[in-house]
Each structure stands twice: as C-alpha cells, then as structure tokens.
Amino acid sequence: MTKPLTGAQIMCEALIREGVEVMFGIPGGAIMPFYYAMWDYRDRLRHVLCRHEQGAGHAAEGYARATGKIGVCIGTSGPGATNLVTPIADAMMDSTPLLAITGQVGSHVLGKDAFQETDITGITMPITKHNYLVKNVDELPYVFKEAIYIATTGRPGPVLIDITKDAMQKTTVPNWDIKLNLPGYKPTYQGNRRQIREAIKLLISAKKPLIIAGHGIIMSGAHRELQEFAERLRIPVITTLHGIGAIPENHPLCIGMPGMHGWVHVNRAIQECDVLFNIGGRFDDRVTGKASTFAPHARIIHVDIDPSEIGKNVRVDVPIVGDARLVLQALLEDLPPPSELAELHTHASDWMEHIREMQDKHQGKQQYKNRAAMANMALPPHDVYEALSRTLNARGNYRVVTDVGQHQMWAAQLIDWNAGPRTHITSGGAGTMGFAVPAALGVAIACPNDTVWAIVGDGGFQMTNQEMATIVQEGLKNIKVAVINNGYLGMVRQWQELFEHKRYSGTPLSGPNFAKLAEAYGWKGLTVERSEDVQDAIDEAYATDGPVLIDFRVEREVNVFPMVPQNKSIGEMILSESQA
C-alpha cells in the first residue's frame, strides 16, 4: 500500500491487522481525529459507546477475559484518560490483555498544561505492562504492533498508547513491514526440562500431594492437560478464585477453592500436604494467609510464566518458568508408565479419602443445604445461589461475571462451576467494585450465544450501572443482572461485625428501587423478597428476550464463612455454626 493515510486511519488499519473487531470508548477533543477516521471503518471495527470510560475499560476487560483476545478501550485526553486508570490497574493485577488508546493534546503544547492535558503515560507507568507516548505519525504502525504483542504475550497485561492529536491528523505512507525490536522482552514458554523431571520426582514420591490450579491454566488454555495430568497421577486439584473452571467442580479430583473464603477441607489439606504443585497461581495473600505459615510441611513446585512471581511470596523448591500448557505437556511426556505410579496412586487415594472426610464433616453442612439454620430468614442469599447454580447448570451456555464483596465470594463458593474455563469472570487482584456490569457488557458482545449473568452487590452496582443504557443501545439481549441487595457494603460490614465491635461506620447503604431503575433504562426489572419466588424470577429472566435485572432483597446481615482473618494462617478459620 503506497497511499498516504492519516495517523488516525493508520490506527484503524493497525487494529484491523491485529484482528481487533470491537472497541469500547468515549470520544472527546483530543481523540476526535480517531473517531473521524473510524467512520470509514465502521463495518469492520465496531465501536461501543459506553457511559463512562471506567465502563469502557471494564467492558474491554470482560471481552478479553471471555475470549483471551485483546480488549480495546478508548478515551480522550485528561479526564477521559484518568477515568481509564481503574480498569487499567485492574487489568494489571489480573493479567488481562488490554489496549488503552488515549488522545493527547497537540505536540506543540505538550507540557504546557494545555486544556485537558494530563501526563497519562506518567500516571499509568506503574499500572501498565508498558506504555507509549506517540508524537510522530510514522511511529504508529510499529507502536501498535509492538503494544499488542506485549499485551498478549508472556504474562499478558494492559498497554496504553497515548497519541498526540497532530500525530493522528498528519499523513504518511505507513510502513507495515515491521520487525519488532525487543531485545529485553523474551518471555520463556518452555519449562526447563531438568526442573520438570525434578518436579515429577517430587510428585511421585509424595504421600499427600496437591495441585493448585491458578489463572495461568485458564489463560494458556491448559485445562485439558491439567485434567489429564491430575487423572494420571490421581492428585486432588484446588482451584483458586481465578482458577475456577480449570477443572470442573464435579470432577472427582476437584476439591474446590482455598484461601480467605476457601473451604475448610481445602485449607486444612494445604496445611497437611507434603508436595504442593502450584501451576499458574501467584500465591496471592488471599490464598496463602500469613505466608510464613503457609503449607508448612510441603515441598513446593511453582510454575509461572513470570519469573518474578516465583519465590516472591513463598519459598519454592522447584521453580519452573514457562507457559502452563507447554509445561503440562512436557510433564505428561515425561511421566513414567502407570506401573511406576502405583505407590503414588495408593497414597493419593488414601489422601483423597481423608480430604473428602474433612469435606463431609464441614462443607456438607453448608448453610444453604441446612435450611434449619436459616429458617427465620425470608430470603437468605444462599437460596439465590442455589437456584442460580441449579439453573445455570441445567440450561448450560452461561458466563457469570461477579463484582466485589460478599456476593462475589458466595458466587465462587456456592455455584457449581462445572462448565469449564472462562465461565467465571471476576475482579480478583484489584477487587474493583463496579467491574461486573460493564464487564458483562463486554462478555455479552464476545459471547452472543451465551447467557451472561452479572452477580453484583447493591454497592458495586451503584458504581457503574449506567452501562445499562449502553447495553440497550447496543441491542444486547443476553444479559441478566442479579443484584444481591443486602442494604450494606456487606463485606466491609462483615469485617466490622467480626473485628471492629459492629461499628458500622459508612456501611449501611440505600439505593433506588433497582427494578424501577432497570425499567427506566428499558430493561425488565423484577424484585424478589422471598425464597419461594427466586426460581420463578430466574425463569422469567430466561423467558424474557432482553436484558433483565432481578433485585434480590436478601437477608441483610449474613456473613461469608469460612473466613480466615487477614494475616492469619489459613489453618485458623472462622466458621459458621453449621460448618464447625
């Protein structure tokens, strides 16, 4: 192509070349040239106009998390760019491939406090995998290619490109013959073979082995390999919050979630195990509790694509840097024949029996399975989850996006996650309230054949619910929102109840009538106040050809248990009466 193009046209071409189909954003002065060019590309590059840049960022994250492809969000300079900061930080913590494109003031006024000038590359330096300020139109093809390459390879993450208005307006003949020059960026994908054999040796000699499956399994698409590996060795598998879906929860080897709100049998198993094989998890403090007391008897094998994660929080005996899927494939290749695994199998089955016994003792008496404990409540939250879990699994084709708080932990605990990777999407590392509704919008666009449920608290919902308008404008019908409405910033209230003498400062929360609000946006809005109406409402949501919100007015002061108090060993759990 030898035709001169404007910088903005080059941006569109570059995105199309990289396979981008959808972008989420809001225009403004500095980014207008890009929107001008977009008009000619509108049949190939879909632009979704969000109601807040934070929503655009989370929508792009949702899109990325559901597909594994890069999510793209756009903001103008100044406030448009700063509104993207939260989703960028969120994407950094959760390793989400995100491209943020921001307009910048003209290069001739850069640094002069021009109207809507903000140093967004400076602001986002610590929360991006990399970022760029582009002042020269000729750099655009290279920068877009490099940015997307960096965002999507190795440990994925957010990349921001800030482009001055004049660089978008100037014309040049783009050079698409690009060879990336990144001498300092060479992600390691293949695990070291010697370490892999070392890991196998350790696992085979174990009496109480455990696997922790983290987000890396989901991101590298290693779920089949994980399952095969666990089955061949017969080792129990723990799934972290972001590892949910790595192995179906109804698989006989899956034992559930660890950590602050993990199950008793899982945390106790970790404290008892002799070999812990963590693949694709980063030993976050919500998983480990007090790190120095974590898995005291275990020799630890840690697989991570990011070398800086290995040995960062817990000591590691066998470090393996690499892609979860490729490492698992190598492990599978190097496994000895079944005859040599017999001893491990015997130990592993005794071990599993022991874990299941602990599970029967504690989890078997889950609150929602134990109606007596909640007999006097009109609508215990657990009844909502029980019905949702039943319905999702019966109907299939679902994605669930959760927000941050009690409702998020209940969702992780109480829904039976049997449908594989990328069906449970949440803000884990950053814990960003307001994530769910806009992220669900991105997921719904990415997965038009699935029903997308956003499960959100009344607090988080009121942070970003204006994206309901975007959902209507985009004609999306496959979104259902379940507000777990407890009239509190519930998770904070729980901490206040348990650790701060019930001093409920700043946690009681009012809201509008959510069903009416939804109706005002052109949604169907339903309100449920009694357990016996839950299933009907969910069925009605499915029967409705359009977005539906259900306001579940649940019992106000219910706690998430088990709970490991912050900075305590995961062996020290607070339990509800029925779990003790």
């Binding site: 330096m125 300020l133 001498p183 300092g184 990011d306 070398p307």
Partner: protein, 179 residues
C-alpha cells in the same frame, strides 16, 4: 540491610530511566546511587545501581519485567572495578591552600578551579576512597559538593557487551530507536 551493586543494560527509549526509578521506589527498595549513560553500543545505555535490599533477586527479577531492560547483573560479589567522582567546592583562603594542595596530591585529587576564597577539587576513586577524602577536607568547610554515584565494571572477560543483545540495522545504526 545489604547493599548491592547492579549493572543493567537498557534499551535507549524515552522514559526508560523513570521506569527504572519508579519501579525501585514502588517496590520499596532504597536507591543509594544511580548512574547511567551511553554504552559501547548505540541505542543501549548502561546503568549502575546501588541499592539496599534484603532480597536482591526480586530486585533483579522486577527490573527484568520492564520491557526495555535487556540485561541485569548483580555484580556485588564479582571482581569489579568501581569508581565514583566528586567535585567539592572548598572554603580555601590563601593561608590554607598549601595544606589543601598537598592533601590533594596524596589522594590523587585535582584542583580544577581557584577563586579568591575557594577551590574546586575533582576527585575520582573507589567509593571508599572518595568518602575518606571528603572526611579529610571537611574541616576546611565544604561549600558545595556533588557526587556522580558509583559506576562498576566487571574485570576480565566476564561482563556483557551490549552488542550481544541488539541487532545492527543495514544503515549501520542499531535499531530499536523510537524518536
């Protein structure tokens, strides 16, 4: 806490130094000194960082997370030559100048400017020697002092030539250079 000397090769792009400094700050490591400049290869800078940390391995790994960081070595326990330069503007009325001049010759320091009541002295040496020299001249009254921070080079054939890591372009320059 132990002090470590780290030598790194950086791709010469805008903002790379502030990325390095920002990272060191937010991870809570203490920078004792930092010196950076061109290396033998165009497009690549070499940086010497002296940093206080319990866990230098994490510092090195975190530095590697920066896209433009090409090579990082902790040379603390390697055989190295380390140098630092200082310039000192000393209170030096005529009466004490002779003393100061002889002190300078003992330390191999050079007098690079003489004013009516002041002298500027330039001194290069190991960080320890520079430190000693400063203590020796301090009683005369230091009006201004400036130190470059340490630079370190591994002796012999060890160490890293920057050209190992970047590819030369056809026109003789070394790539990656944006701007």
């Amino acid at each position: 806490m132990k002090t470590h000397t780290i030598v790194a090769l950086l791709q010469d792009r805008p903002g790379v130094l502030s990325r390095v400094i920002g990272l060191i700050r937010r991870r809570g490591y203490n920078i004792e000194s930092l010196a950076v400049g061109h290396s033998e290869t165009p497009g690549v800078s070499r940086l010497t960082l002296v940093v206080e940390s319990e866990d230098v391995e994490q510092v090195v790994k975190q530095l590697y997370r920066l896209i433009e960081v090409i090579k990082v070595s902790d040379v603390t326990d390697d055989p190295t030559v380390e140098r630092e330069m200082t310039m000192i503007k000393l209170h030096a009325p005529p009466a004490v100048r002779h003393e100061i001049i002889s002190m300078c010759s003992v330390f191999g320091a050079r007098i690079v400017d003489v004013g009516t009541n002041t002298m500027i002295i330039e001194m290069t040496g190991t960080p320890g020697k520079v430190e000693n020299f400063i203590e020796v001249v301090r009683p005369y009254g230091i009006k201004e002092m400036m130190r470059t921070g340490r630079i370190a080079m591994v002796r012999g054939t060890r160490g890293h030539n920057a050209s190992e890591y970047v590819e030369p372009t056809t026109n003789g320059a070394t790539v990656p250079v944006l701007n």
